[in-house]
């Protein structure tokens, strides 16, 4: 039986019941609609009016009477949702500045109209701010008046049954309820979501892209295509590439990508949905950091958390440990928490490569949502850049940023030295945070004035990035390369630890990377490579909770002159070795084989606070009672992880247009074993086998079709497994480690098409792809208590599906335009149908850019980024009632840059977030920080680049 029939049958009964109960007290008590009118609304967005009908007076039906500026009153019905809750929608067309007025009337059985909420003479007035079209991009505004009431065909979920409910609330791992029975929503207009969505026509998507059309035939002319197999690590732009070829390559702009196959290949042909941004493209974006570049890639969204970390979401899911970051092929992700110090300046970069989806079976653990490879410049010569600028502050001064960059390489016979250095210093933008968790306390303690915000964001940062290395041709067949890098970052927390502004927070991060690679060409067909690498990362995160002079109580030892402090210091190390080989079995076939072993370990872990469990001051930072010492757990077994892996991948061009890729990777990962009480008893080796199949078919020179399947896994991080910190009143939002976590697995199916059209001087490239990703045992933190966030495997998994599209048009080398868009849905299968969507990252993104010449020497670039509204996920009741919405956004970057001056210099002025759009990101506790996290406002920078 359908839901509909149940509803249909019960409604008369309910009405009868209401009628009977109401009779005796007829008209005794005036009916009213409990409703709070919002103070403000966004223009062009339908306004949803929810209210609860109270009183005993009989009301047959209710209407909203509303009017926009200069309009007469119109009517729209309020419909019963359930219980006493009614909902109506004021159409978007009436929401134009300066405002809309409305009131609610009901009809009594006798047909009399009675006011239920406000009245015609005193209507509720909602201020509509802004211009309807203010932030829209030309293209999105073309997307039409979204409007209003297109019947929403989406199936409406059946109200959850009792069982489903239990599943959702208390035992998230219980079965999912049966698939929702589709029922056409009786009144489509009532669905508010589509309407709101629509209003952000500019929300919808993002796109941009990367590679341009290849010149048919240019393939052979490019050295990288001809040379067999260069590894990612060793990839220098081929020295033999002439300036002319370079120009040609840029013009035809098909970038190379080594990531997907460990061999440099044209993006067009690689068996993965991949993108690569070369140097010129990065410059044309006006990008200054890696995060700026990633945010315009289709399917990717960058956000910042309260602690100031940049977080990358790929295809609707966001998890630090699930995006593998590589720097010249070496992993950047921290063994402890999976975070990567990846937001490097782009000036010294040769390119940034991204695979969306687990497309590569080559990278093993962690290459889960995607892989990002950052490749530094190692071409002969010297490149330098200095840049300065900043954010305007309230007092008309500038929060300055200065950064300098130098990279270069030089050959001395067989020896080639290369290196790069970045220095970055920023004061950073500062935006008020009106309310945080301690707002009431700081006010009561007179630590701030009533009209002052709770605090401001702090974004100062000092970054040092030094890389040095050499390559040596031992013989004509063998090559040795040694490189080392130091990364050091010192910064403030953007907001603080969790839900409280902590102005005194300091976060330090040091990374050392070392790599020795030996390559040997046995003969024309076989190439061997051996690698030894290691890294050490030290993080020192000191968080202040609440301001200086904060009191937790009246006693002497409840006053914290320096604020409440907690400090986490973690050192991790890893050491690994790998051997791989490329074998050309026969013409058109290349087999890659490899094996590796890696030991990752926790070197030091310390957690200290200056307060006791009952929030009293300690004389010094001390480890509180109850902190788990991960180093000694099960004799230290839990703090080490040994991984063995082997992979084989064969790429076979069967006939010219058809290339098949088969690959498989097997990993054995050491993970803690637990007893029934979830206590760690030792370790176990967990095997995982991840196959990959790719089919690349180009029926014509201009069309490439791809069909790909891949599988990947990621083991839980140490933090997810082990870190458990005692809860106290003020330090909220803790991790609660779960040693029983299983590795998560994802299966991905992708289909893509590339179309390249060349017409005279101009080229256009269009690419579209669709994907379906199915995650088993995804690891998710679920807010079930407000204080502690337990980490769990979501047994029923997560399903993500979506489409991505990109287009790029080149009219000439200097005149290009590109656009990309992505749309996806992520569904947590373990939740009731009506709470299934994971929506804390924009479900739709849109990016576009234009570069055009102004005269012979000036180029003008504009980049637009837009994202859809975001909402919090509701995987627990707590998350449900802390509902928040982050409005759609559109950001514009504009840049003016010169062509090379005297062949050596280039000048660029870039303004980011030109219209100072109020971009915000999500917070862990929207009930305590209702203003969300303010992101960077408008900023301007002048950059001078030089090359010899």
């Amino acid at each position: 039986m359908t839901v509909k029939s149940v509803l249909t049958r019960s409604r008369p009964f309910l009405l009868a019941l209401v009628f009977l109960t109401a009779l005796p007290v007829l008209a005794q008590e005036q009916a009213t609609l409990l409703h709070n009118a919002p103070e403000q609304a966004a223009p062009g967005v339908a306004l949803v009016v929810d209210g609860v009908l109270t009183g005993t007076q009989r009301i047959m039906r209710m209407v909203i009477r509303y009017r926009g500026p200069g309009e007469p009153y119109s009517e729209t019905p309020l419909e019963l949702q359930y219980g006493d809750l009614y909902r109506g929608i004021i159409p978007a067309s009436s929401l134009t500045p300066p405002g809309v007025e409305y009131y609610v009337e009901g009809f009594t059985p006798s047909g009399e109209r009675v006011p239920l909420f406000k009245s015609a003479t005193r209507p509720a007035r909602v201020v509509v701010v802004g211009q309807v079209t203010s932030t829209r991009t030309p293209i999105s505004s073309r997307t039409a008046e979204p409007r209003t009431v297109e019947p929403e065909p989406a199936p409406r979920a059946e109200p959850p049954s009792r069982n489903e409910r239990t599943g959702r609330r208390s035992e998230p791992t219980v079965k999912a309820e049966p698939a929702p029975k589709a029922e056409p929503t009786p009144k489509a207009e009532r669905k508010p979501e589509p309407v709101r969505k629509a209003s952000g026509s500019d929300d919808a998507m993002e796109a941009l892209t990367a590679e341009l059309p290849p010149d048919p035939g240019s393939t052979a002319s490019r050295p990288s295509a001809v040379r067999p197999a260069r590894s990612t690590e060793s990839e220098q732009p081929e020295p033999e590439r002439s300036e002319l070829e370079e120009d040609l390559a840029l013009y035809t702009a098909e970038d190379t990508l080594a990531l997907a196959t460990r061999h440099e290949e044209k993006v067009k042909k690689v068996p993965a949905i991949a993108a690569s941004f070369g140097r010129e493209q990065i410059r044309a974006l006006g990008a200054r950091t890696v995060a700026d570049v990633l945010d315009v890639m289709p399917g990717l969204t960058l956000s910042r958390d309260v602690q100031g970390f940049h977080r990358v979401a790929i295809r609707g899911l966001r998890n630090d440990a699930e995006v593998l970051f590589l720097l010249n092929g070496q992993r950047l992700n921290n063994f402890f928490d999976g975070k990567a110090l990846m937001n490097l300046p782009v000036e010294n970069l040769e390119r940034i490569e991204v695979i969306r989806g687990p497309g590569s079976a080559l990278y093993g653990a962690g290459a889960f949502l995607g892989v990002v490879n950052i490749v530094t410049q190692r071409s002969e010569g010297l490149l330098a850049a200095v840049s300065g600028g900043g954010f305007p502050k309230l007092d008309d001064r500038l929060a300055t940023t200065f950064d300098g960059h130098l990279s270069g390489a030089h050959s001395f016979g067989r020896l080639k030295l290369f290196g790069d250095a970045d220095v970055w210093h920023q004061v950073g933008d500062s935006a008020p945070i009106e309310t945080d968790a301690l707002s009431a306390d700081t006010l009561a303690q007179k630590l701030r004035e009533p009209l002052e915000p709770s605090g401001t964001t702090q974004d100062d940062r000092f970054l040092l990035n030094l890389g040095l290395g050499f390559g040596y041709e031992l013989s004509s067949e063998s090559h040795l390369q040694v490189s080392a890098r130091l990364l050091s970052e010192e910064r403030s927390a953007l907001v603080g630890l969790f839900d409280t502004v902590g102005p005194g927070s300091r976060l330090g991060w040091q990374v050392f990377l070392g790599d020795i690679t030996y390559e040997h060409e046995l003969n024309d067909r076989v190439r061997l490579r051996a690698r030894l690498y290691g890294d050490q990362q030290s993080t020192d995160r000191l968080f202040q909770i609440g301001p200086d002079g904060f009191r937790t109580g009246p006693d002497d030892n409840q006053l914290f002159p320096d604020g409440m402090l907690e400090q986490t210091r973690v050192t991790v190390r890893s050491l690994g070795t790998s051997v791989d080989s490329d074998v050309s079995l026969f013409e058109g076939n290349r087999l890659s084989l490899g094996a590796g072993a890696e030991l990752q370990m926790l070197g030091a872990y310390g957690y200290e606070t200056n307060y006791t469990l009952d929030s009293r001051r300690r004389p010094a930072l001390t480890t509180p009672e109850g902190v788990v010492d991960m180093l000694t757990l099960a004799d230290g077994a839990a703090s080490r992880r040994l991984t063995f892996s082997a992979f084989a991948q064969d790429q076979w061009t069967v006939v010219e247009p058809l290339t098949l890729t088969f690959g498989v990777r097997a990993d054995v990962t050491q993970l803690p074993s637990v007893d029934n009480a979830n206590a760690i008893t030792g370790t176990q080796l967990v095997p995982s086998v991840n196959p990959r199949v790719g089919l690349v078919f180009s029926p014509t020179d201009s069309l490439v079709l791809k069909l790909l399947y891949g599988r990947a896994f990621r083991p839980p991080t140490l933090q997810e497994l082990l870190e458990t910190i005692p809860n106290t009143y003020y330090n909220q939002g803790r991790f609660e480690g779960n040693p029983a976590l299983l590795p998560a697995v994802v299966n991905t199916l992708e289909a893509g098409a590339d179309l390249i059209q060349v017409s005279g001087e101009s080229r256009v490239r269009i690419r579209a792809n669709a994907f379906l990703e199915s995650f088993s045992n995804p690891i998710a933190a679920v807010d079930t208590s407000g204080n502690i966030v337990p980490v769990r495997n979501r047994e029923l998994g997560v399903l993500v599906y979506g489409v991505e599209g990109e287009a790029r048009l080149e009219a000439s080398k200097r005149a290009t335009t590109w656009i990309n868009a992505s749309l996806f849905r992520a569904e947590d299968q373990g939740l009731p149908a009506n709470h299934r969507f994971l929506t804390d990252t924009p479900q739709a993104r849109f990016n576009a850019g234009v570069s055009m010449p102004i005269g012979d020497f000036i180029n003008f670039d504009v980049v637009v980024r837009a994202g859809a509204e975001r909402r919090n996920n509701t995987r627990s009741v707590l998350e449900l009632i802390r509902r928040y919405k982050i409005p759609a956004y559109g950001l514009i970057t504009a840049q003016v840059r010169t062509e090379p001056i005297g062949d050596h210099f280039e000048l660029a002025v870039v303004v980011q977030n030109v219209f100072d759009s109020d971009l915000r990101d999500d917070v862990p506790r929207p009930d305590r920080m209702p203003g969300l996290i303010p992101r960077e406002g408008v900023s301007a920078f002048l950059t001078l680049r030089a090359r010899n």
Binding site: R142, T166, S170, P194, S199, L613, V764, G805, R871
Partner: protein
């Protein structure tokens, strides 16, 4: 070329309209039968924080009663049920309700008020723990004459038969001036004898240390000598909302047995929220 361009532009224009984006519907009821009447309220019940966290509250008392009787069929029934005021929520699923009018109470609404679905655990507490617990509950109360700005969710509602007399003019830690648990009058200050125990039913949130009770209850939830028993039903784990619903159905199902607030916490020199309008 121009055709390709047209195709691109068309594709963008037709790109899945934002209307396709659907979000989680927060307003869906939490139970299958949100419309069924679970019982009757004799008077309006206010849900604003001061009423749920700084005064007696009919629904809080109902839940405490339900907890207290959760283990009645067992060998070790509880003498006292408690629920923290922070468990009574006004937010609702999509509309905040500050008051529930007297009359029939719908199941859907009851579950929106008690929406956390905690398990209920009955456990032995020592006399010291019992008194400390009520001291902690009273610690956040405001003195008479002060505005009730930020009432603490740790405030406790108690079950029938229990009376707690609080004096807010006394320093925090010694505000409990009288305590009676059923027939047992608890001497103040509490005796240290660990053999004197009281069997108390409470949400596992509190027993697990929520709202600052961790330092009082310590490991009571896992200490088998305290005999912790988690309430269950034939279908599995009973939740606070389900127990309360059942208790309401069996005890306040008609208008003449309508639920009415009782003066179980007796306030002296404490601020009290004003009761609006006619009763």
């Amino acid at each position: 070329m121009s055709r390709s361009l047209t195709a691109v532009l068309l594709a963008v224009a037709l790109a899945p309209g934002p209307g396709c984006l659907q979000y989680n519907d927060q307003c869906q009821p939490l139970v299958a039968d949100p419309e069924s009447t679970v019982g009757y309220l004799a008077e309006d019940v206010f849900l604003d924080r001061p009423y749920a966290r700084h005064d007696n509250n009919a629904l809080g008392q109902l839940a405490a009663d339900a907890f207290r009787h959760a283990e009645d069929g067992s060998k070790a029934p509880a003498e006292l049920g408690i629920i923290n005021g922070g468990s009574l929520r006004a937010e609702g699923l999509c509309v905040t309700r500050t008051v529930i009018p007297k009359g029939p109470l719908k199941n859907g609404l009851l579950h929106e008020v008690l929406l956390f679905e905690n398990a209920v655990v009955t456990v032995n507490l020592t006399e010291q723990q019992l008194v400390d617990m009520f001291e902690h509950a009273a610690a956040g109360l405001y003195l008479e004459g002060q505005p009730i700005l930020f009432p603490s969710g740790a405030f406790l509602h108690v079950s029938e038969g229990t009376t707690v007399r609080l004096d807010c003019s006394r320093p925090v830690g010694s505000r409990v001036v009288g305590l009676q648990v059923n027939a047992r009058t608890v001497p103040l200050p509490a005796r240290a004898d660990p053999s004197i125990v009281y069997r108390v039913a409470m949400p596992d949130f509190l027993l697990g240390g929520g709202d600052g009770y961790g330092t009082i209850f310590k490991d009571a939830a896992t200490d088998l000598s305290r005999n912790p028993v988690t309430a269950s039903t034939a279908e599995g784990k009973a939740t606070d909302a389900n127990l309360t619903e059942a208790h309401m159905r069996s005890n306040h199902s008609t208008e003449n047995r309508a639920l009415r607030e009782a003066g179980r916490i007796l306030f002296e020199n404490c601020a009290r929220p004003a009761r609006p309008g006619v009763r």
